[in-house]
Symmetry: C2
Subunit: 192 residues, 2 copies
DNA sequence: GGGCCATGTCATCAGTTGGTGACTTCTAGG
DNA sequence: CCTAGAAGTCACCAACTGATGACATGGCCC
């Protein structure tokens, strides 16, 4: 006990805020908005639940804040254009779902059914997903192609959410991945 | 007051059961498992909430029962094989979402995030969706192609759930529909 | 008609949720 | 050292949820 341990939590507002945000992001991604209680978030963050209301105003505002801070689509748009389908399909069908890249998708899919969260999701996914994607795609039908890409990506994520990794073995997942990659690249490259 | 109105509800167990089931199906499809309360279902059905527990055992069992009774994929597998993509894409992108055909999808998507409902969904969607679809597709990679079809169908539904019909106008939805049809038919017809 | 069971109604419970305000404790600045 | 305010703790509330058991009532069979 070399450093004189303070009994309560260290008094550091910024760190506390961040801890809450981190814990909330994981909870919302793994359980969804409704299934996550402020007490659970607080417990994960090692914080009293009352601080959530104090710092963010309430659960709903915390959720919006989490969406704003979550990593967005940009990561995939940065890379090589020709390998977009391959990279995304790998994430969707092969890589373990615990990856952080998944988190924004998971938050959206698992929380979209909650009216309290829905509006925030609509707004944020437009700004952080469709808008950049459309710009990146370019062309007259960018909006439609963006929607098509979104359909495949969301659907694939949804399937894994529902079935985890049951039903398909490694070989089949590889085939799935390749087919997804082809479909995605088809939407990326050409006019539909 | 020609017929001597009974003050309470008509005493007809079968009709009451059906009324509850109907009301529950609509509520679960529109609001999801978590957002739907037994009191709301009962109110819609013109029934006392206690009867839900009496007739079905509880909300969870009622949900399973609703899934069992909901219309499944069979409708689309009956029709002409060549027009499968066209028919499904029409439903996914063009037809109004209030259609009953959508209900099973909506129930699944809106309730999948609830642990209580998830297991029932997994079981039922396998029996009423994947299994028939795989059989209908045939071939060695039927499982993978079924999954691909599912991804597109679920993703398209999810997009409409989140965005309703915003963002895309009629013309764009038509383009979306055609592209979806091509993709679906591609998965139906060929080895991936 | 009388008994009896199925059906429906009601009051209420126990658990959980998000949120609030009063309180304590620590730390910075004078 | 002492005060003021920020940071954290605690007890508690009001609302809601699913569920249950006691009770009322209708209709059928003997």
């Amino acid at each position: 006990m070399s450093p004189p341990m303070t009994p309560g939590r260290a008094r550091n507002a910024a760190a506390t805020r961040t801890a809450i945000l981190e814990a909330a992001r994981k909870r919302f991604a793994h359980e969804g908005y409704d299934q996550t209680g402020v007490r659970e978030i607080a417990s994960d963050a090692g914080v009293d639940a009352a601080l959530i209301s104090r710092y963010f105003g309430g659960k709903e505002e915390l959720f919006s804040e989490v969406l704003s801070c979550a990593p967005n689509i940009a990561e995939f748009l940065d890379g090589d254009r020709d390998s977009f389908g391959e990279r995304v399909a790998q994430m969707l069908a092969v890589e373990p779902m615990r990856e952080e890249k998944f988190e924004l998708f998971l938050i959206m899919l698992r929380s979209a059914s909650s009216p309290k969260a829905a509006e925030a999701i609509r707004r944020h996914s437009h700004d952080a997903f469709y808008q950049p994607l459309e710009t990146w795609l370019g062309g007259d039908d960018a909006a439609v192609r963006a929607r098509l890409l979104s359909c495949v990506m969301m659907g694939a994520t949804m399937n894994r959410v529902i079935y985890e990794d049951y039903l398909l073995d490694g070989q089949q997942r590889q085939e799935l991945c390749e087919a997804l990659a082809r479909t995605l690249d088809n939407y990326v490259s050409g006019p539909v």
